[in-house]
């Protein structure tokens, strides 16, 4: 599994930049990031190379931060591959809460982040179906 940071951000100018500035200053590398269009406040979800350190420095700067686990799935860069994985999850009767993808990793295969209602079970189902699940 992959450790994801959820950071509370307000819906105002510069709030996401406030988070990334702290990461930059502490030389923490961002691997994936997602935020959604919400009216009042947002939860910025990020994957970084040093999750515990990132949490500590963000808290020091006054952010509310939670670390939780998500599943990272390595996909093949061709039509239908995300469809294949989503069907495996759906067929197992599991519910996807949200997905987002890693930023480009040079020539490596794309990695997609999945948050599913029953994480452990989802990871097992994916592995059983020969989907490549990656770690941090």
């Amino acid at each position: 599994m992959i450790k994801q940071l959820s950071v509370f951000v307000e819906n105002e100018v510069g709030s996401l930049a406030g988070v990334t500035a702290v990461l930059k200053e502490n030389k923490i590398n961002l691997k994936a990031a997602a935020s959604f269009d919400t009216p009042e406040f947002g939860i910025m979800r990020i994957v970084v190379d040093q999750p515990e350190e990132a949490k500590a420095v963000l808290i020091q700067e006054g952010f509310v931060v939670k670390i939780s686990e998500v599943i990272g799935v390595e996909l093949v860069d061709q039509p239908g591959d995300l469809d294949r994985v989503l069907h495996i999850i759906a067929d197992a009767g599991l519910c996807v809460n949200y997905i987002y993808s890693f930023v480009l990793r040079e020539n490596n295969a794309p990695v997609m982040i999945f948050h599913v209602n029953q994480l452990k079970m989802a990871e097992e189902v994916l592995k059983n179906n020969n989907v490549k699940v990656v770690n941090q």
Binding site: S6, V7, F8, V9, E10, S15, T38, E40, F41, I43, Q60, G62, F63, V64, V65, K66, S68, N97
Partner: protein, 436 residues
């Protein structure tokens, strides 16, 4: 410990002193303050008409506007060369209100504050840090002289530069913190932010808080931040009457003992001005009994409380005033429902997922009152989903609706994003009043 014998007198003895001092004060203002004389003549009252404490009700009230109308020294009962100190209120609207003290007034003020410091657990073994702003505000110097009189080592650190305050607190082994509750809260946050644990790294064990009211959940918050064994008391006063020193809490925490030999309290119906029977809630009115420079008669404090005359377990016989429900000036009327910001605070501080700071904005949209409350999210557990954060907003709204009957919209904001205060907190903005 109890400082003065006047605090444990029988009611009969006390009332005898009060009547003598009242008669003397009324006579003095009648003779020396033209504005008072005129008021009494209009009301057809002469000093000789005050034969019992009950006759107090015959005298006209004094209100803040009277001080402004007689700016700066018009209500003073002594010539200016008798003054040894002049203070003024901040005066957010119009002219400030000016208050003065003679040498005797300062001694009496010091005596009153010393009693309150002792009530709040201080002794000559203590080191106190006064984190009230020094200057024209009476708070800092009032506590300063009262604590010095007790033999406490006083550090006049004033407000500002909170990290340095904390350095002194650590290095001087400060045991008594004097501040507004808002600033005490902020100092504790900075202590934590500096990586210090107040319970291990600091020796503060007494909080003497004043300048603004403190609700019970706010007291709990102080214990959480500063340590459960901290003795957290609040005291009350206002510059027009003397400054701090009018009343204060003892360790029994069942209201604030009024220094009744110097301040004679009444409770009135704020609308009719009628005196209410003991125990009823209404506006606190105070008559100064021994003041020389500015002896205000029946001063309307605008503070809402009730008086409790039953003797206290601490041994004091002086009347206790209930911790303030609010100032009548601060009361908000939201779609016909009366609510004090302190009541909103009580509801908010019981919600664990949010911090102790909040901002209330009242407005009127399409002829309807609206209230928005900003609160700081502190519980990381809710970041799992938007639904959990939405639930929190709903929960707070529901609490406000069921406890206070008001409808408010809740806005979650990031921690430490709301304004922090070094003096009195300003947490309410009423845009209806400001005519925007």
């Amino acid at each position: 410990m109890i400082w003065a014998k006047e605090e444990t007198m029988s009611r009969t003895e006390l009332e005898k002193i009060q009547l003598e001092r009242l008669q003397d004060t009324v006579k003095r203002v009648y003779e020396k303050v033209p504005a008072y004389r005129a008021k009494m003549e209009t009301a057809n009252i002469k000093p000789e008409d005050i034969k019992s404490l009950a006759d107090l009700a015959k005298l006209p009230f004094t209100v803040k506007q009277d001080l402004r109308d007689n700016y700066p020294f018009g209500l003073f009962a002594v010539p200016k060369n008798e003054l040894v100190r002049i203070h003024a209120s901040s005066g957010t609207t119009g002219k400030p209100t000016v208050v003065g003290c003679t040498k005797n007034d300062l001694d009496m003020w010091t005596e009153c504050v010393t009693r309150i410091a002792v009530m709040g657990g201080a002794s000559k073994e203590d080191t106190a840090q006064i984190c009230f702003g020094y200057g024209m505000f009476t708070g800092a110097l009032g506590l300063h002289f009262g604590l010095e009189n007790l033999g406490v080592a006083v550090c006049p650190t004033s407000t500002g530069n909170t990290e340095k305050q904390i350095m002194y607190m650590k290095d001087f082994e400060t045991t008594v913190l004097v501040a507004t509750p808002s600033y005490a809260l902020h100092i504790a946050e900075v202590v934590h932010k500096m990586g210090l644990d107040p319970q291990k790294d600091l020796k503060v064990k007494i909080g003497l808080f004043g300048g603004e009211g403190m609700t019970e959940p706010m007291r709990d918050e102080m214990h959480r931040l500063w340590g459960s064994d901290m003795l957290v008391t609040q005291n009350y006063g206002m510059s027009e009457l003397i400054g701090p020193g009018v009343s204060g809490e003892c360790p029994e925490l069942c209201g604030m003992h009024i220094n009744e030999d110097y301040f004679l309290p009444e409770i009135i119906d704020p609308n009719t001005g009628e005196v209410l029977p003991p125990g009823e809630k209404g506006e606190l009115v105070i008559t100064c009994l021994k003041k020389e420079a500015l002896p205000l008669i029946r001063y309307r404090t605008r503070d809402i409380t009730r008086l409790m005359y039953e003797p206290c377990k601490c041994g004091r016989t002086t009347v206790r005033m209930e911790n303030l429900s609010g100032r009548s000036d601060d009361m908000l009327i939201i779609r016909g429902v009366n609510v004090f910001p302190s009541q909103i605070e009580e509801v908010l501080l019981k919600v664990e997922e949010i911090g102790a700071h909040y901002e209330i904005t009242v407005n009127r949209e399409n002829h309807l009152d609206t209230m928005e409350i900003k609160v700081e999210l502190v519980d990381e557990g809710l970041l799992e989903s938007y639904a959990a954060l939405g639930e929190l907003e709903k929960k707070i709204k529901h609490q406000l609706k069921t406890v206070l009957g008001i409808v408010a919209s809740i806005k979650l904001v990031a921690p430490n994003s709301l304004q922090r205060f070094e003096g009195k907190a300003k947490r309410v903005t009423d845009l209806r009043k400001e005519g925007i």
